[in-house]
Amino acid sequence: MAYEKVNELNLKETELCLGLPGRKEEVKEEQDVSCVRSNNKRQFEETRDEEESKPPTKTQIVGWPPVRSYRKNNSVSYVKVSMDGAPYLRKIDLKTYKNYPELLKALENMFKFTIGEYCEREGYKGSGFVPTYEDKDGDWMLVGDVPWDMFSSSCKRLRIMKGSEASALDSSSL
């Protein structure tokens, strides 16, 4: 009973959207949201169980399993970052960032551009730049869909897509 109640509360909170990095409210919401999060990859979104009565089978709970975060960093932290149109790649240490807003802000500074607003349903809107990453399985995913810890341990490289390619990713995932 109690578990479901908690679940309900948290699921409601997951409907909130992440905003631009730097905006305090959004950062706080992201922290709240991380309580219960779907770790389904974007392409499986349609099959996600919407029923709140069943305990979600594929959700990530904060602080579970109880392993301290420094132990979760088993992979090498430096990842290559490419931006469509930029002449050379950059490398960043994912471990220096604690959450998505910090990472996105760093990317914006590094490549001098603006990322649009993120929404779980529709991805990034507003600027034509879409941050994506290649995960352990070799799939290209949208940055921001999965909890930060999961992202930082499975991200192998980053690519900031722009223009037509970016919108193709958006529409194909829906």
């Binding site: 109690a2 706080k28 922290q31 305990p55 904060v62 602080g63 399993p65 109880p66 975060s69 132990r71």
Partner: protein, 623 residues
């Protein structure tokens, strides 16, 4: 009055077996009346003779000479309860003070009672804060402690902090205030950086121990290794494996070279294998070594690779080995020369396969403490069981800490360990699959167990063979392991498991519960049945107001109670707070908590001699 003293004299040593409060007083009374101890008799005679003059001074003089030999916190707490005189003398002679909860009392109370403290052990945040269940900036600040002690204990030598927030300014004040300072140990701490460490290194000229363990240290770009003074140092232990900042290797080599007493050295991830090699050649006297990355930065410089095995061979005294942060597995056999001497081995940062592991562990006959990742698989655990007959402590961490991960270790590994390592005292085991049979086997094969922490990572997972809850397994543990003081449970658990705990878990001091139980009765069993319970941490379990009220007779005798994501109402928590004025009842939530909302996200309550703290952040409400 009595309550005051007993609260201050809290016994928290996990290894000691102190009787409950009422029995303890009785024991003291018996002791005093027996003729085996001459001191009280003498004092009684003295008092009779000199009752007009200075009986207290004579008594206290004698007592002081006797009590200074008492080291155990437990014994000292008992002695302090005898009478006011003993209390006074004990306070004068206690040189090491342990405070299990920094908010249980104010720094002023510490310095007012204990006048000659040389060593302080202080713990701050509750353990669940490690898992992001508590917002940052909750508290546990070292600042008020260091500033109060700076004036009261100029001869302070040792500070050992766990889960405290320590700033660079705090470290600077510490370095400035205590000229004889010898030992700084920071475990799971944060708030400071390499600049703070540099100040300590530079100003504490008598420094013997600088241990930074599992702490978050910001990289301020300061070359702190170079800040140690010139000349021979007193360093005996230097641990910085958690410092994620590059270090000046030449300076480190120089420092190690002029530290003849150095026995323990734990390098960080940014020290390469070649650098380790150079250090080992210069420090063969080491007993404890953290190897750093155990990999090359780039391709090896020269054609001829250094003989790493020879370097290890020269370290005949190494008994404790850890590190392997970025292990290049082909170099692992270099440690073979020291394996047969090892009593402690920590592979928990290294993704080692069974095939790589078995040739190594095969030589570790003397191993007592072993930490590893589950990448060694059940097969690796079987090898441990076959060789490590002296094993006392085992910790298996998940390489992939997610609920849906593969899970390379299971009940097979646990069963093997229970059969091979009969002297096992402490186990922490992360897995995805477990059976009651294996847990029962461990309860029967390992009677020395004092710590049993099993984490079945999938929530509510039953025995994967029978499909039944894990009640019987944990029930057997509390029933058969008569020395059990710490228990962490997981998997599918009904109220029955808690009934067993309440019935048999008479020595349990620390209990961790997550996603377990069916009803309030479960928590009630534990609160009513476990008289030694000190630390109770519960998350995401169906225990509500009724259960909370069942523990009111216990909360003053506990260090803390943590309950998060449980169906507690603010009203009930307020009732508890009102009924128990010396209990601080914190409700921790997020900033936008609606005051009208009755739901309590996180309850954290603890006894306090000095009322609620004065550094409460916005998201905490003290009821």
């Amino acid at each position: 009055m009595t309550q005051d003293r007993t609260e201050m004299s809290e016994d928290d040593d996990d290894n000691s077996q102190s009787p409950p409060l009422d029995l303890r007083s009785a024991a003291i009374a018996d002791h005093c009346s027996s003729s085996s101890s001459s001191t009280p008799n003498k004092s009684r005679n003295c008092m009779a003779l000199n009752s007009q003059t200075f009986p207290d001074h004579v008594l206290e003089n004698v007592l002081e000479n006797v009590l200074q030999f008492l080291d155990s916190r437990c014994d000292r707490n008992a002695a302090s309860l005898v009478c006011k005189s003993w209390w006074r003398v004990e306070a004068l002679t206690r040189s090491e003070v342990f405070i299990g909860n920094c908010y249980a009392l104010s720094p002023t109370r510490l310095t007012q009672r204990f006048k000659r403290v040389k060593s302080l052990l202080l713990k701050g945040k509750p353990r669940f804060a490690d898992f992001n269940l508590m917002p940052p900036d909750w508290g546990a600040n070292f600042a008020p402690w260091v500033s109060t002690m700076a004036k009261a204990y100029p001869w302070l030598e040792k500070v050992d902090l766990k889960r405290m927030f320590v700033t660079d300014d705090d470290l600077a004040l510490l370095a400035d205030s205590f000229p004889g300072f010898k030992e700084l140990i920071l475990v799971c701490c944060e708030g400071f950086g390499t600049s703070g460490i540099a100040i300590v290194a530079n100003k504490c000229r008598k420094l013997k121990v600088l241990d930074l363990i599992e702490s978050e240290v910001t990289d301020d770009g300061v070359d702190w290794i170079s800040c140690f003074p010139e000349g021979v140092t007193s360093l005996e232990s230097l641990a910085f494996d958690c410092v994620e900042a590059p270090i000046n290797f030449e300076a480190l080599e120089g420092l190690v070279g002029r530290s003849p007493f150095l026995k323990k050295l734990r390098l960080n991830r940014l020290v390469s294998l070649e650098e380790l090699h150079r250090l080992l050649l210069g420090a063969p006297q080491l007993t404890s070594l953290g190897t750093g990355s155990f990999s090359h930065d780039n391709a090896p410089q020269s054609e001829q690779e250094p003989d790493y095995a020879a370097a290890f061979r020269a370290c005949k005294s190494v008994v404790c080995l850890s590190g392997f942060r970025d292990l290049m597995p082909e170099y692992l056999p270099s440690i073979l020369p020291v394996c047969s001497n090892l009593t402690s081995l920590n592979f928990s940062y290294a993704n080692i396969s069974p095939d790589m592991f078995k040739p190594i562990i095969h030589n570790c006959h003397r191993l007592q403490v072993f930490w590893a990742l589950d990448s060694i698989c059940d097969e690796g655990l079987q090898a441990v069981a076959a060789t490590c007959k002296e094993l006392r402590e085992l910790r298996i961490f998940p390489f992939d800490p997610r609920e849906e991960s593969e899970g390379p270790v299971s009940e097979l590994g646990l069963q093997a360990i229970s059969e091979g390592c009969r002297n096992l005292e402490s186990i922490l085991y992360f897995c995805q699959r477990m059976t009651n049979a294996a847990v029962i086997a461990m309860s029967e094969n390992c009677p020395e167990l004092t710590v049993f922490r099993l984490c079945i990572m999938g929530r509510h997972r039953p025995d994967h063979v029978t499909g039944k809850p894990m009640d019987e397994g944990f029930g057997a543990i509390v029933k058969n392991c008569k020395k059990l003081t710490r228990l962490a449970i997981s998997g599918l658990l009904t109220d029955q498991a808690f009934r067993y705990m309440g019935e048999h878990g008479k020595l349990i001091r620390t209990l961790s519960v997550a996603f377990a139980g069916d009803s309030d009765m479960a928590l009630r069993h534990v609160l009513e049945g476990c008289p030694r319970l000190q630390k109770l941490e519960i998350r995401d379990s169906p225990f509500g107001d009724v259960a909370l009220r069942c523990g009111m007779h216990r909360y003053y005798n506990m260090r803390f109670v943590w309950m998060s994501a449980c169906p507690l109402s603010k009203g009930c928590c307020k009732d508890v707070a009102r009924a128990m004025p010396n209990l601080v009842v914190e409700v921790i939530g997020s900033d936008d908590d609606d005051d009208n909302r009755d739901y309590v996200e996180t309850l954290y309550m603890y006894r306090s001699l000095d009322g609620p703290r004065n550094d409460v952040p916005k998201f905490v409400t003290i009821l």
